[in-house]
């Protein structure tokens, strides 16, 4: 349960750093500040001003560290509560001691994410923004960070507001025709109602199509490397990683388990999975490795099927072909420095083909770029205006809104207005769950501002 006691935590990452920040939020923040922090200049802590001083342990009169402190009085703070930040030296021991000192003032250690939760509960940010802050902290790539920053700034919230605005306008029209039959409103303006709904549907559909890209940007993608033994999968992995992560030998079947590494391709976070070579074998350990590789295939966002272009198509290549039936796959034709002897039976099965020479590194940049552009095909993601859904919760809410709007559209010509109103209200309700808002008197306000009503 969330009681508004005062919480504190180290806000910088664990380990040694140049600076360590201890953040305190709650009614006791000022008390803590005045207890542990002794400013060089008299006058105590002034809200929203940094002051320089020392952190002292009154129990033994010992100076723990020299530090900067800033006190931010509610509501002008991150959590909308009184907040104190102590910026001390970044050694983990110093930071721990300062935290212990703070906690001894009757302050509780914060739970993970609790500062942001308080910011949300205190109404400073809406749900999307709260989630975005979490994303900013967890961002693994530049584009993920950008996306999260935009959501925090409210770009997605604004788009959702646009949807609500359209739906409210449509609902206000419907309600006006229902509640004011004797007023001089004329015939039901179906075109105006449906055009507002179409506008909303348009935005919703647009947002839904960004979900996949939003998710990819936020969470990154998994790329699985498969191929028969000794075609150069591990060499490829090392090339993509720019380091010697996998053991490379000329002995087929060297890689037995799956090797997993995360790299950044042009701002996209990619989880690379190198697998055991697929072939018929009696070796139990190798068999286990092969079955693990096969299991991974349907889970991967993209498969790199590596072939030795200097050999002819073999039954083992066929095995891989069969396993890849439903996957999005790029055919990687390795050993491009040798004469080309491979003829793939069904080239159309692949998204594309890239020729590389893993040993020399030729074609690797092209492959990186091909992987990236496969996911980030929209140029919009580069622009500042790009707004994407990145959470299943948002998507589910919008899908349910879309379903209600489809019902609405289907019934537009032959169903009664009050039934259409129910669809609109349910859609509004669903959209409202994204930002945590619900419609109240807004419909009536709109009716009275748009119609001259009253007998």
């Amino acid at each position: 349960m969330y009681i508004r006691d005062t919480i504190a935590a180290v806000s910088t990452p664990p380990g040694n750093g140049g600076i360590g920040i201890i953040r305190v939020s709650g009614d006791l923040a000022a008390v803590v500040g005045n207890t542990v922090f002794k400013p060089v200049y008299d006058g105590g802590l002034v809200s929203h001003r940094f002051s320089f001083g020392t952190i002292c342990d009154d129990a033994n009169g010992e100076t723990v560290d020299e530090a900067m402190a800033v006190y931010m009085r509610a509501p002008r703070s991150y959590t909308r509560e009184d907040v104190l930040e102590l910026h001390c030296h970044g050694g983990w021991l110093v930071v721990e001691r300062v935290l212990a000192l703070v906690l001894s003032c009757g302050v509780r250690l914060a739970d993970p994410g609790e500062f942001t939760r308080r910011a949300f509960l205190n109404g400073r940010i809406d749900l999307i923004q709260a989630e975005a802050v979490m994303d900013i902290i967890a961002s693994k790539s530049e584009s993920a960070l950008q996306l999260a920053q935009k959501q925090r700034e409210g770009a997605l919230s604004r788009r959702i507001e646009d949807v609500r605005g359209c739906l409210l306008r449509a609902l206000a029209l419907v309600e006006a025709y229902i509640d004011f039959p004797d007023d001089d409103l004329g015939e039901t303006d179906v075109a105006a109602i449906s055009s507002s709904v179409e506008d909303a549907q348009c935005i919703i559909t647009g947002l839904l199509t960004t979900f996949e890209e939003g998710r990819i940007t936020r969470d990154g993608v998994s790329v699985l490397i498969v191929g028969k033994p000794n075609v150069g999968k591990s060499s490829l992995l090392n090339r993509l990683l720019k380091e010697n992560r996998a053991i490379v030998t000329h002995i087929p079947g060297t890689t037995r388990d799956i090797i997993e590494e995360t790299v950044n391709f042009e701002g996209l976070s990619v989880r690379l999975l190198d697998t055991a070579g697929i072939r018929s074998t009696d070796d139990l350990v190798e068999l286990e490795g092969i079955s693990r590789a096969l299991e991974k295939i349907p889970l991967a966002d993209l498969v790199l099927a590596v072939f030795d272009s200097s050999c002819e198509f073999s039954p083992e290549d066929q095995l891989i072909f069969d396993a890849l039936a439903d996957s999005r796959t790029i055919a990687v034709l390795n050993k491009a420095d040798l004469p080309m002897r491979l003829v793939l039976p069904d080239e159309n099965r692949f998204v594309t083909m890239v020729r590389i020479a893993a040993l020399s590194g030729d074609g690797i940049d092209l492959l990186r770029h091909t992987v990236c552009s496969h996911f980030l095909h929209s140029t919009a993601s580069d622009s500042r205006e790009f707004v994407a859904l990145s959470k299943a919760r948002h998507r589910d809410a919008l899908i349910s809104a879309e379903q209600f709007l489809q019902q609405f559209t289907c019934g537009l010509r032959d169903r009664n207005l009050e039934l259409l109103a129910l669809d609109l209200r349910d859609a509004l309700q669903a959209v409202g769950t994204v930002t945590g808002q619900t419609a109240t008197d807004e419909v009536l306000d709109l009716i009275f501002s748009s119609f001259c009503i009253g007998k």
């Binding site: 109404g123 309600e175 509640d179 004797d182 009050e418 039934l419 109103a421 008197d441 009253g454």
Partner: protein
């Protein structure tokens, strides 16, 4: 001060539409009741439009009737034009409306009150509530008499500190021709109630002999006229038409030319007026692009030449009024019999009430009608009925009657009022009801008759009639669920005539009726029993079958919200002790003091986050300790 020897159970202050229902309810429930009015000749007077019902208002009247109130019976006996509105739309938003013979309406209500046992009817102006210690014990009148009672229902309408405006002239009045009530609202203020000011208005009454009706379009009522009350067999009053007229650009120029002498635009009127019932100058100013506004010329009765031009209320000076009304086609030579005016009056913000309509501050004191910031006869009557019922239940030591939002428009209205308060005169709209498809006029009896009967407001004879209707609906619903088509040659012929060849043999009548292209009358051709079903039963069976999907969807929504609606917030909860609430939310909750979590969630500014905090706080016992 002279003291009357009788100790009443219930004293009702004011005999308008709220007061009449309140007094009838409590006296019919066996409580010694007195109804006090400033003017015995103005009981149940229709101070504004001579009509009852309309969208959502008709729903209220049917609910009042189902609960055993009087309004529906009164309009059925005195109505001179009945219409069902929205007949082209679905059953949930169809509503009844009737023109009344204004004098007959008030006289009949007075007669009903006079004939009611347990009820005393007296003329007098209440100037203050009477307390013994901190306990409410009755009322004191200007004439110097004190009446004792256990409970008091205040229904003062527009009378408390009423101020009438015509142009820049203004004078105290509760209604044109009546004295205002002075003193009572000052006492309420002193007692600590937040008292505000509202404004409303009424058009001029015109001399119909000076109107050229040949230039106007007549609008007739339905034939046959359908009654409001579930107990009325048929309407026997003669029926007459209304007429439709329109303003024009010249009318609007005249209005504009008088704005400098409008009390509304010169800032003299401080009260807030209703947005849904704006004065004509308000319409012209706010919607300058409209070049005409519609008006219904409504008769005020069978026996009078006075007519009421709806939607044409104004507080402009009399010379502008004359010129304006005469600018309307058909009204070129019109004579004004009573001028239009605006009236400002005191109201007591209804967030200070429990949903029983008892004030939170003073036990045994109930408020109903315009004093709660509502407008409309039907809204007033609905509240009056509930206040009267709950005063009587208090006297009997029983729990109050609270109707849910999912149960009745009356429930929606009272919940809106006590949860949100109101800053402008509150009127009922169907869009305010989230469970609109369930709250229909046609099923008001199915929703509420049991309650009215249990309270003793519905007579045994009326209830037997209802019980029989309910039984027949149930039986017919069950029957069409199991009766299957056999595709006899007769049935095949009927199906093909209706273009329903695709209906499979063995389909139930219910499945058939669910289709949008099959009506109950088509069903009747297929099946002998259906042919004999009375019309009211047919309608119910058809509605309940056709809209089952939507009705179920709404029932599901009710189920989902039930947890919130039934989670009670203790009256003594100290919101300051719920530390995690923001100051803003704490202030709102402290001011509104909602009875349930559901109510709290409807207060603007109370975020879903605040509700989850509150719900957690309610579960833990810690708030009790913190509260100390």
């Amino acid at each position: 001060m002279m003291t009357h020897d009788q100790i009443y159970d219930v004293i009702v202050v004011g005999a308008g539409h709220a007061g009449c229902e309140a007094a009838l309810a409590s006296s019919r429930m066996g409580c010694r009741t007195m109804l006090l009015t400033i003017n015995l000749d103005a009981i149940a007077l229709m101070s504004c439009n001579p009509s009852i019902g309309g969208l959502a208002k008709g729903h209220l009247v049917k609910e009042i009737d189902a609960l055993g109130g009087e309004m529906a019976k009164n309009i059925d006996a005195t109505g001179i034009q009945f219409r069902i509105l929205n007949t082209k739309k679905g059953p949930a938003v169809r509503a009844s409306r009737a023109q009344a013979d204004k004098q007959l309406y008030r006289l009949r209500m007075k007669r009903v009150l006079e004939q009611q046992t347990n009820l005393d009817l007296k003329q007098g102006e209440v100037t203050s509530l009477y307390f013994e210690g901190n306990e409410l014990h009755g009322v004191e009148l200007q004439s110097g008499i004190r009446y004792h009672s256990k409970t008091v229902v205040v229904t003062t309408g527009t009378f408390m500190r009423g101020l009438i405006h015509i142009g820049l002239n203004n004078y105290p009045g509760g209604r044109a021709g009546d004295q205002p009530s002075i003193g009572l609202s000052d006492q309420l203020r002193v007692l600590g109630f937040a008292v505000g000011r509202l404004k409303t208005g009424t058009p001029a009454r015109l001399d119909s002999r000076s109107i050229d009706f040949t230039k106007l379009e007549a609008q007739y009522g339905d034939e046959p006229p359908l009654p409001f009350s579930f107990s009325t067999d048929r309407i026997t009053m003669p029926q007459i038409p209304c007429h439709i007229a329109y303003t024009n650009p010249r009318s609007h120029d005249i209005i504009r030319s008088g704005l400098d002498r409008s009390p509304l635009y010169s800032g003299i009127i401080e009260g807030v007026g209703p947005r849904y019932c704006p004065s004509i100058e308000d319409k012209v100013v706010r919607f300058p692009e409209k070049d005409r506004h519609q008006t219904f010329i409504e008769p005020e009765g069978l026996d009078t030449i006075e007519v009421y031009p709806s939607g044409m209320s104004t507080s402009l000076p009399i010379d502008i009024q004359v010129a304006f009304y005469r600018s309307i086609v058909g009204l070129e030579g019109v004579e004004i019999m009573r001028p239009a005016y605006a009236i400002e009056y005191d109201y007591v913000d209804p967030i200070q009430l429990h949903n029983s309509l008892e004030t939170k501050m003073i036990n045994n004191l109930y408020h109903a009608g315009q004093i709660n910031g509502t407008s409309g006869y039907e809204e007033a009557a609905g509240q009056g009925l509930i206040a009267g019922i709950n005063a009587a239940l208090r006297v009997k030591g029983q729990d109050p009657l609270v109707l849910e939002r999912s149960q009745a428009y009356i429930g929606v209205m009272i919940d809106d009022l006590v949860t949100l308060g109101t800053k402008e005169p509150y009127r009922m709209f169907t869009s305010r009801a989230e469970y609109r498809l369930l709250l229909r006029e046609d099923n008001a009896d199915l929703r509420l008759r049991d309650i009215g009967h249990r309270l003793g407001l519905v007579t045994e004879k009326e209830f037997d009639l209802f019980a029989e209707k309910r039984r027949m609906i149930k039986e017919e619903l069950a029957r069409i669920g199991v009766t299957r088509l056999v595709h006899s040659s007769d049935q095949l012929e009927v199906l093909s005539r209706h273009g329903l060849e695709d209906i499979q043999k063995g389909a139930t009548l219910e499945q058939l009726l669910k289709r949008s292209d099959v009506s109950y009358s088509a069903l009747a051709e297929l099946d002998d029993v259906s042919r004999e079903t009375p019309a009211v039963i047919r309608d119910q069976v058809e509605i309940q079958t056709k809209y089952k999907g939507y009705i179920d969807r709404q029932l599901e929504q009710i189920e989902q919200s039930k947890k919130m609606e039934t989670t009670r917030i203790p009256v003594e909860l100290d919101y300051i002790s719920v530390k995690s609430l923001t100051t803003e939310v704490r202030e709102k909750l402290s001011k509104n003091r909602p009875d349930t979590l559901g109510q709290a969630s409807r207060i603007p500014g109370v975020t879903p986050a605040a509700i989850s905090i509150l719900s957690i706080a309610l579960k833990s016992s810690s708030w009790k300790e913190n509260a100390k």
